[in-house]
Symmetry: C2
Subunit: 346 residues, 2 copies
């Protein structure tokens, strides 16, 4: 249980701490006899170098840049900042310097420009949302070549050299949505609705759709029939009402993006029949409709936690030499009108 120091070992082995140091770090210039003496002591005891002392000697300030879509353009990203601030606060006793940058999620040029700025900063690590597949891959490659550690969250990029990803299993996410709708309604028509956002997160939507369909395929229940639509924000109301007119058997809708409130808005005027609605993300508008009962369930993608963990693992990597997990898939939270209350704080 005693904590041994290098000095202790030196004493026990009958050599100086310099020699012990050379043995520990394999710096050579140690005689056979001295090596044996030190190693025999090291075998006997459990020596762990004092991390605190190590850090003090090192005494470096690590800079980490975070790059994400501008929350002003899409409120989904707001909570990421909360998560980042949480991590910053947690480690403010250490030499960690975090800078946050935004890019316009509708503009690849903006993404590239932001990365130029970051490259000028020359940070130790970058945590980013690789919204644009192609551009992100190149950029990440560049960072890697400069010896800058890269972690990504929210979006996965298979072919990229960045190995540290934090997000959710989108396929499974779709299955969860399917299971939820099948819990609420026992038969009838179901619609998968992709609301086309200004920027393309097609992979997200596709994976969720696949998962959703796979659930019902496995269920092998012909009592459900599933239709899929891709709506544009500009004419949702018109399209949706016509879909409903065309499909009177429609009982449930699964919205694959955070824009389910736009569907809820329209559904709330449909008084004669209740259509179940499952959507994504705890946006203010979504929460409002969830509480009112127009949205039945929200699936929580937890962007706050994604950003928090991404940053935390980078920091712990630098400070404590911990390995960064190559992939973290967060639990997918199901939220209803009553449980939403418990998600406000931490």
């Amino acid at each position: 249980m005693k904590k041994y120091t290098i000095k202790d070992i030196a004493k026990l082995a009958g050599v100086s701490k310099g020699t012990v140091d050379r043995v520990l770090h394999k710096r050579g210039k140690v005689s056979e006899t001295a090596l044996k003496k030190v190693n025999s002591i090291l075998d006997d005891i459990d020596f762990k170098p004092n991390f605190i002392a190590k850090q003090l000697k090192n005494n470096k300030i690590y800079t980490i840049c975070v790059l994400l879509p501008d929350p002003k353009k899409d409120a989904y990203w707001e909570s990421c900042i909360v998560g980042i601030n949480k991590a910053v606060l947690e480690f403010n006793a250490f030499g960690i310097h975090v800078e946050i940058y935004f890019f316009n999620p509708t503009s690849t040029a903006s993404f590239l420009k932001a990365n130029l700025t970051i490259q000028a900063v020359a940070p130790d690590a970058v945590l980013l949302v690789p919204l644009f597949f192609k551009e992100a891959s190149t950029i990440i490659e560049e960072y890697s070549n400069s010896g800058i550690t890269v972690s990504i969250f929210n979006n996965h990029i298979n072919s990229s050299p960045a190995k540290n990803f934090i997000g959710q299993d989108l396929f499974q996410s779709g299955r969860i949505g399917a299971k939820l709708l099948s819990s609420i309604i026992s038969k009838g028509g179901l619609a998968i609705i992709h609301i086309d956002e200004k920027y393309n997160n097609a992979i997200h939507m596709q994976e969720k759709e696949k998962g959703f369909k796979s659930y019902f395929q496995e269920l092998n229940a012909p009592k459900y029939n599933i239709i899929t639509y891709k709506l544009k924000h500009s004419n949702i109301e018109k399209t949706l009402t016509s879909i409903m007119a065309e499909h009177p058997e429609l009982k449930g809708i699964f919205v694959t993006t955070s824009k389910s409130y736009q569907v809820a808005e329209i559904l709330q005027n449909e008084h004669e029949k209740k259509i179940a609605l499952v959507g994504y993300d705890l946006l203010r508008e979504n929460i409002s409709f969830l509480k009112k009962g127009n949205i039945d369930f929200l699936i929580h993608q937890n962007p706050k936690q994604q950003a928090y963990l991404g940053l935390k693992h980078l920091i712990e990597h630098f400070l404590f030499d911990k390995e960064i997990p190559s992939q973290i898939l967060l639990p997918i939270n199901i939220i209803n009108s009553e449980s939403i209350k418990t998600y406000t704080g931490d």
Copy 2:
């Protein structure tokens, strides 16, 4: 952005580091003029003492004892150990020593005995599950008098001097269960079933029942009628089948404890009609029935996270001088057969 040291401040203020030190720690023996000089510098810059150096100087090992019911007696507590180990791992670079103790949840004597052992250890803090109201209150008082910090989790004790509690809002938890059942079934009979465990966690069950009922009262829907039963483990099958015979309108069951698998076991033989079932906690048996479809939703009380956070806040209090939050109410997670997959890891 520069990191200032005491030496820097001394230089800027034109005094020695000893004087700066005295000002920072309010140790007195500082002249009016020197005080002013140093304070004016401190006002200008953002000085945060280097935590690493502080720790190295301090070089103390903090001992924290954790006391919880024996997981061998009730599997619910198993995951607490996982949470504790997570915290221990996270801070293993620091001087933190954690000891875990168990008590028999059916025996107050065992609880008292374990606390005697802990008191002999004389730790810096204790994290415990105050299962027995009266005994826990006394014990916590004793710890406080000895200057030992106490945090509690899972159970709340109003009248105790321990202010640091981590758990969930049980009333709200009951409301969530109610909302879930009302999502699945639109009308009919509902049963609240308390399965009497060997030890009394009556407060838990009562609060959940209150919450459950309050939801339906607010809903003001006479299409539901609610019955409440308290079952003993020994004769669940007999009692439950007689209840179902007596109440053919029964459509949903809310089990307030982690023993919903016992109900599911019986329900799986009822093939002619489907009864919705909502229960608590991710025990192996519960998960199995959730996947099979006999349990519709599980409410996750997250004992792992409760233990983890309890320990983490104690550690951060000692290491970083952070204040321990007087109360943390964790989010209440809803889990279905598809989302359970995403909860296995972290």
